[in-house]
Assembly symmetry: C2
């Protein structure tokens, strides 16, 4: 059976890159962003400091790529059994079912200890350091939210969402409560919870006219 | 004209207390929670360290009271022109109008630089320090959210919200997006924005049956 061949040097690079990401994510969860150093990442990853500096200019740049890679891995895991990685919200024609599917997968991700400490460290630093915060929002958060914008726009085309609704605001009704509960540890993160968020956001909490 | 008389010592205590709160809030915004010390608060407030230790056992305890006081001041400011401080969401009989009123006042508070740095420092520390975070949620955040729970319950009694809706989840549809935008600096905080959140939450984003 034919196998895709990869030159040895590329394979070595790939292995180093993954080791650096793992080290950066583990360390930021352990010591926080302020105390994270390129030296410590290199030592933990078992590579030379120069290897890191060849690819990235700062610890913030390493970490951002590590998180982007983590998000990609999560997308791959959620697509297990599918032929291609899902880089958009599924469109089954039923907006409510599709949003619940994605939000349940997101809950599972938030409940995974592997994500908790590094994400929390990055979020805390982003609160205090406007430059890092801006980069985090621009490169990591906003592209993910844009997938909801696209899906809501398609639902508007299909007549499932009112044409006057602003999709960028609408998505906050389900995405922000989950993020906030996770950040503040202010409530349980369950499938039932995100199902309700989606239901309330789509149909409102006021009585529907008979 | 008769004046309410206050013993000199009480007046002095009140003045010290307010100076300590102001110093704690200013300092946490400047240096962050980790570097905040009782000594620095005392020096900035112009009181002895003993004065602070007589009333509080830790910097976290000072700061929590300072934030509670700040929230009280904000409530007093919002009640200007009213006879009594509003400790609940107004009930005019029109839930949508009442929620918009409160959310607009909250936007104005978030946009006030006086609140921004200290709240941000506390939120960042609460992310990393679960004990402080829990205290923050329990004593500061949750009592404020409970006011929305009470108002939604009254709206349920009045037939303005469906009886099967969970008020503690419903309030997150308008409160969490605002908190999240402020934390992440991911969008403009305007009256128009919170009006839309309230409208979408009450009536949903799906078309209403004709």
């Amino acid at each position: 059976m034919a196998q895709k061949t990869t030159p040895d040097s590329t394979r070595r690079s790939e292995r180093s890159r993954r080791a650096i990401y793992d080290a950066a994510l583990a360390l930021v969860g352990e010591v926080g962003y302020a105390k994270l150093t390129i030296e410590a990442i290199a030592a933990r990853a078992g590579v030379g400091k120069q290897t890191i500096y060849r690819w990235w200019s700062s610890k913030g740049a390493v970490l951002l790529d590590a998180f982007l890679d983590l998000a990609e891995q999560a997308a791959e895991a959620a697509s297990a059994g599918h032929d291609t990685v899902q880089t958009e919200i599924p469109d089954s024609g039923d907006l409510e079912a599709d949003l619940k599917f994605v939000m349940r997968a997101t809950v599972d991700e938030f409940n995974d200890p592997k994500y908790d400490a590094p994400y929390r460290a990055l979020a805390a630093e982003g609160l205090l350091n406007p430059e890092l915060g801006r980069e985090f929002v621009e490169k990591l958060l906003e592209p993910q939210l844009q997938l909801f914008v696209d899906r809501v726009r398609r639902a508007q085309d299909a007549g499932q969402v009112r044409p006057d609704v602003d999709p960028r605001i609408a998505l906050e009704l389900w995405a922000s409560p989950l993020a906030q509960r996770w950040l503040m540890r202010s409530g349980a993160l369950t499938h039932e919870y995100v199902d309700k968020l989606v239901e309330y956001a789509l149909h409102g909490i006021a009585p529907r006219p008979a």
